[in-house]
Amino acid sequence: MTTKLFGAKVPRVEDDRLLRGNGRYADDLMPGALESAVLRSPHAHARIVHIDVDAVLDCEGVHAVYTYEDLTGPMAAPLPLLIPHPALTHGRTQYALAKDEVNYVGEAIAFVVADDRYLAEDAIGKIKVDYEFLPPVVGIDNARKAERLVHDDVPGNIGARLEQNVGDAPAAIAAAPHRLELDLVIERSASTPMEGRAVVSRWDPDQARLQVWSSTQTSTGVRAAVAAQLGLDLGQVDVITPDVGGGFGVKINHPWPEELLVPLAAIALGRPVRFTEDRREHFISSAHERQQVQHIEVGFDDDGRLLGLDVEFWHDHGAYTPYGLIVPIITSTQLLGPYKPDNYRVVFESLYTNTVIVTPYRGAGRPQGVYAMERTMDAIAAYLKKDRTEIRATNFIQPDEFPYDHQLVFQDGRPLVYDSGDYPALLEKIKALVGWDEFEQFRTEMAAEGRRVGLGLACYVEGTGVGPYEGAHVQIETSGNVKVATGLTSQGQGHQTVFAQLVADVLGCSFEDIEIVTGDTRRMPYAVGTFASRAAVMSGSAIHLAATRAREKALRIAADALEADAADLEIVDGIVSVKGTTGPTISLGTLAVLSNPLRYAFDEVSKAATQFSVGRPEKPPVAEDDEPGLEGRDFYSPERSTFASGMHAVIVETDPDTAEIKILKYAVVHDCGHLINPMIVEGQIHGGVAQGVGGALYERMVYDESGQLLNASFMDFLMPYVTEVPESIDIDHLETPSPLNPLGIKGAGEAGVIPSAAVFAAAIEDAEGFPITTMPISPSELFELRRRHSVVEPTHAVVELVETTTPEEDSP
C-alpha cells in the first residue's frame, strides 16, 4: 500500500543539489554574459540639470551606456503602477532611468554595460551629473506637515486616503463606559534576503525570442511587464525563475528598472547581459516596509468588550507607489485579528517621502495592524486591572460564528470573511505552552534573585492564499515519470517537495518519480506569484486538481484496457489494478503510451500505441471530447482568502542595569489548517520568528534628515545572527481545516513574523511597568525610557498609561 505523504515530514528533494553547491541562482547562469552597473542618485531630492556620459564612451570594456534620453516608446514612460486602487488618487511611479528629477537616494539614473562588473563600476564613476538640490521630505511627521513636497503635484504629500466604517465607532466610543487613546510608532525594516536582486537576459535573433532569468517572486508578472515595456509579443518572451536566495516580499515588486534595462541591452547588443545587485544597492534601491504612526481610540465596557474602535494611521510609502495600497489596506483590515468590535472605523493616509519605495515585506502590513490591536488589548487589560488573556477571550469571534463577515473590503477587493478558526482553543494552547498561569510565581522567584522578567502575548489572524488563481499541469510520461509545472516561483519554501507529496498521494505513484517545475513561463504561462502565504493553498490546490484529472484519465484508459469499471481500480506504486484482485495490472507509463495513439513506433513501448494495436475501428482514435496524452491541467481560483491564525507568547528578561533584553522563552501556536509537511511549516515559523526578533529588537532603517540611509550595510543594519535568536522556539499546532479548498489548508509563510513587534512590546512593558509605544526598541532606548519614567521598583499589575493613553472620565 502506498502510504499517504500528506502530513508527513518528508525530507526535501531540493536539498541534495543545494548542499553540493549545484544550486543555480541568477548570478550563476550564462557564463560570459556582459555585466552591468547602475549610477544611482546620491541625493534624496534633486532636479537633474545635466548628465555627461562622454568620459564613459571610450572606456575600455564598456559596451553601452543608457540614460533617460536613450529610452523610447513604453520604456520612456513611468514604470507600471501594478495595483491601482480608486483611493490612490495620487499614485506615482519612477522611470526606468530618472527623468529630470530624483526622489530618493538610490534611484537609477544611468545604466552601463561592460565586460565585467568592475569595469562597469569604473565607468559609472566617470559619469558626471549636475543636480539642483531640492529639500527632502523624510519621516512621517515631515510628510504630514507638508511644508515641502516630494512631488510638486501631490498636495500634502498624500498619495491616498482610505476610510472604512462598520457601524459608528466615534459615537460608540463617546457612549462607552471606558475610553482610552494610544499613540504608537513602528519603524522601517526590510526583507533583506541573502541574495539580492539579479537578472540575466539573452536575445535569440534566430527565433526572435527573449529569455529572461530573474530572481523574482513572479515570473509571469515580469514576463508581462518586459513584453509590454519592450514592445514584444508575450509569446516572444520567456521568463524563468532559477533558484532564488530568499524573497520575503521584496521580490514581488516588478518590473525593477534593471529587469527592463538588462533585456533592452541584451537585444541591442546581441549578447547576454546580467545585472547582479550588491548589498548596498539592495538597501538603498530595492524596497523597505513597516513604518507607520498610529492613533487609536477605543471604547469598552467593564469586561473589556470592544464597543468602538477608531484607528487612524499614517503610512510612509516612500517616493513612489508601484505596489499601490496593499500594505496599508492589509494593516487596516487585518488589524482586527481574532476580535469583533461592535463598531470599527479605520482611516489611513499613505504618504510620500524622499526615501526608497515601500512594498510588502513578509507579513505585509499585518505586523503593524497586530501591533495596534494588541497594544490596545494590553492597555485595556491594564486599565481594568484584568488578566490580558481574559480581555482577549471576551472579544474573540467564537468557533460557531464562522464564516465571520467583518463587513470590510480586504486587499483582494473582496469581502473580509473569515472561513474558519478556533481562537479560544488557540488561547488555551498558548497559555499552556508558555506557562501563563505559572508566570507570576516565576516572576516572584526571579525578582528574589534581582532579575526582572516580563511576559507578552499577541494574537493574529492572517488572510492567506489570496487570488486570483494559480494553475498546474501534470503529465505522466511513457516512462512512468510525472512532470508537474506550476507557475508561481520558489524562494526556499520547499515547493518541489510539498507539491510532489500532493501528486504522489493523488496518482499513487512513487514520490521519487515526480518532478516539479515552478516559475518557468515556458511550462506554465498562467500564474500570479508567490506572496501572501499563498503558494501551498493556491498552487497546492491547483496541483491537486490537475493530478486528479490525470488520475481520472489514467483510470478511464485502464478501465478499457483491463475491461473493468474505473470505480473498481486503484493505483499503487504506479501500477493500476482491480481492487482486491490479483488479476492483470497496467502501469501508469503504459497508460501514457495508450493515451497517445501513434502512427509510428519509435521503440518497444510505443508499439503498443500504433494504429494496428489500439483503438476500435468504429471510433476515432482520439474521442471527440478527449485529447492525446496522459495529462491533467486545472486552475484553482477561490472565492476569497482563507484565514490562518495564531498566537505568540514570549518571556523576556531585561537587565536592571544595562537594559539588555534577553529572550527566555518563545512560544508559538499556529493554525494553518492541515499541514502538508510539518517539518517545512516549522522551518517557516523558525525563520519568521527570527525575522520578527530582528524587527522588534535590532533592525531598523536609519535615514538622516537629508534622506541618506545611514546603515546600508550588514555592519550597521543588525540582522540577527544565531546569537540573537531564541535558543528554542516551542511550537504547537491546531488544525482547523479551511472549507475553501480541497485540501483544507491555509498559508503558513508569514505567520512567524506577524505578531513580533506586538509580543515583544507587551513583554517588555510587562517587565518594566511602563508603556512601550515605539518599536523596535534597543537597550539604549529602553534605558532612556526608564530614565524618563524613573521607575525605581516596577509595578507589574498596573501599567502606567498617562503618557500615551488618556483614560477619559470614567463613568461609575
Binding site: R20, G21, Y25, D27, E60, M194, G246, H686, G687, Y721
Partner: protein, 175 residues
C-alpha cells in the same frame, strides 16, 4: 589604459586552475566566474554574512575579503569539494539534509564550509559551542534553529561509524 593582469595558479578542491586576473579581482569572483565554481555565494561583499566562506588551507576565510592573487600557493576548498570521495554527502551536508538546515540554500555553502572546519577542530561541540561555531554567518530563512541541530547531528555522524548514518534514521527524529 588597460589593467595589469596577473597569471595566477589556484588549487581548488584538489584541482589546479591557471587564470589570468587583474590584481583587484576578488577571490569570490575568481572562484565563481573564472573557475565557474558558483557554489560559493556572495551575500554582502563586505565580510559580514559569511555566505562566501571557503576553506583556505583548512581555515574558513571570507572569499569576498581576499584577492585572487593572494590565494596562490593555498589549498582552497569550496562547497563543491565537500562531498566524500564516493560521491555521497559529507557528514555536515547530510546533517543539514536530516535536520532541514536549509531553505533557500543561499547561505548554506558558507555554513557548510565553516562547520566542516569547526567539527574538525571540535568534534563534540556542546549546544553552546555549536551556536558559537555558526555565530559569524547570516541566514535569513531558517532562524538558525535547525542549523544548530545540524551542527550537533554532524558531530554525531562524524563520530559514529560511517554506515550507521542517517540513511536508516527517519529525518523527523532529528527535528
Amino acid at each position: 589604459m588597460s589593467e595589469e593582469l596577473h597569471e595566477v595558479r589556484l588549487v581548488v578542491n584538489g584541482a589546479t586552475y591557471d587564470v589570468t586576473v587583474p590584481g583587484r579581482r576578488l577571490l569570490s569572483d575568481a572562484l565563481r566566474h573564472d573557475l565557474r565554481l558558483t557554489g560559493t555565494h556572495v551575500g554582502c561583499e563586505h565580510g559580514v554574512c559569511g555566505s562566501c566562506t571557503v576553506l583556505v588551507d583548512g581555515t574558513p576565510m571570507r572569499s569576498c575579503l581576499m584577492l585572487a592573487v593572494s590565494a596562490v600557493d593555498a589549498e582552497i576548498t569550496t562547497v563543491e569539494g565537500l562531498a566524500l570521495a564516493d560521491g555521497s554527502l559529507s557528514p555536515v551536508q547530510q546533517a543539514f539534509k536530516d535536520c532541514h538546515g536549509l531553505q533557500c540554500g543561499f547561505c548554506t555553502p558558507g555554513f557548510l564550509t565553516t562547520i566542516t572546519a569547526g567539527i574538525r577542530d571540535n568534534p563534540q561541540p556542546t549546544r553552546e559551542e555549536a551556536r558559537e561555531m555558526i555565530a559569524g554567518n547570516l541566514c535569513r530563512c531558517t532562524g538558525y534553529q535547525n542549523i544548530v541541530k545540524a551542527v550537533e547531528r554532524a558531530a554525531e555522524l562524524t563520530s559514529a561509524p560511517r554506515r550507521s548514518s542517517s540513511v536508516e534514521t527517519p529525518p523527523g527524529e532529528h527535528l
